[in-house]
Point group: C2
């Protein structure tokens, strides 16, 4: 499962795009692609997180043509899931989607998403029908997809690990783990 | 339950703050407070969403002193929950937190959060121990708190409602509902 973020409005949505990428990484995606806009600073800040918290094989790219990427994903037999408040309620489709998790591209928009993306998507899925955020939509979607197990996930190559703490911040070197 | 966002870095985090506010509104909070920074544009854009999608009683404020607000919340017998990747895993505390939902202030940070907030919080809660986003952290926290029911919620005074759709965008006038 990979996440494609449709091109952001430069500057205005940069931080939001970075947050979408961080959710993709920490909630179990194999990679994050920023469509249409080349933005090295976003990719670089995500790569830094991978260096410290693990995920050297987490795929990162920007500037990819979103429409072509989606079309070729489908030609290769992949499934495209577009998150939008106008779509079908997640509770009504998640059981079917779990079966195709391996072939899935999750598409999240920025601003107004052109109609073509609704048409190309195999599933338009709503994380509720209220306006909120592509960051929260992606998080809830992946949480449903992985049943909450993703919140325990640690990358095998993580250098830093957290020891849960009632009051402080305890960061330790990770124990070596199997890949 | 109310949400307090610790003051953002102007411009850089404005959009992220708006997204935190949108999640608070759509995931069932009674109000959203932006601490320390007065930002009318953020509050105004949230108010516009309330006008269309409901929530005229959703409390909105900015520029409140975060530390004083938290201290007075506690003095009035309220419970303060601070979301941080360094805290206790949500799975380990959510059962206790559901019992105090009514008295709860959920605090989310921006950038580096000073130690005093960790000390004042009754609970420091981690939505997993990986870096992601205050937007996704708040969404997953409220989703756990309300058990997914929040994704069906429609405000009684909503003017617009969505009819779930496989491909298109269907927005209709809401049916009158009981408050």
């Amino acid at each position: 499962m990979y996440v494609l973020r449709l091109g952001h409005r430069p500057e205005r949505d940069k931080r939001v795009t970075t947050h979408v990428g961080l959710v993709a990484r920490s909630f179990g995606a194999h990679g994050f692609i920023l469509g249409d806009i080349k933005d090295d600073s976003v990719i670089e800040s995500l790569r830094k997180v991978c260096l410290r918290w693990g995920g050297r094989n987490f795929f990162l790219a920007s500037g990819v043509n979103s429409l072509l990427f989606i079309k070729s994903w489908k030609e290769r037999g992949g499934i495209v899931v577009h998150l939008t408040m106008y779509g079908l309620h997640i509770d009504d489709v998640i059981d079917n989607l779990r079966k195709v998790e391996n072939d899935m591209l999750v598409v999240v928009g920025a601003g107004k998403v052109p109609r073509i993306y609704y048409e190309l998507a195999d599933y338009n899925v709503a994380i509720g029908h209220q306006p909120h955020s592509e960051v929260s939509a992606l998080a809830i979607f992946l949480d449903r997809l992985y049943g909450g197990a993703e919140l325990r996930f640690i990358y095998p190559d993580a250098k830093l690990c957290i020891e849960p703490s009632e009051r402080g911040k305890k960061v330790v070197k990770c124990e070596p783990r199997e890949e």
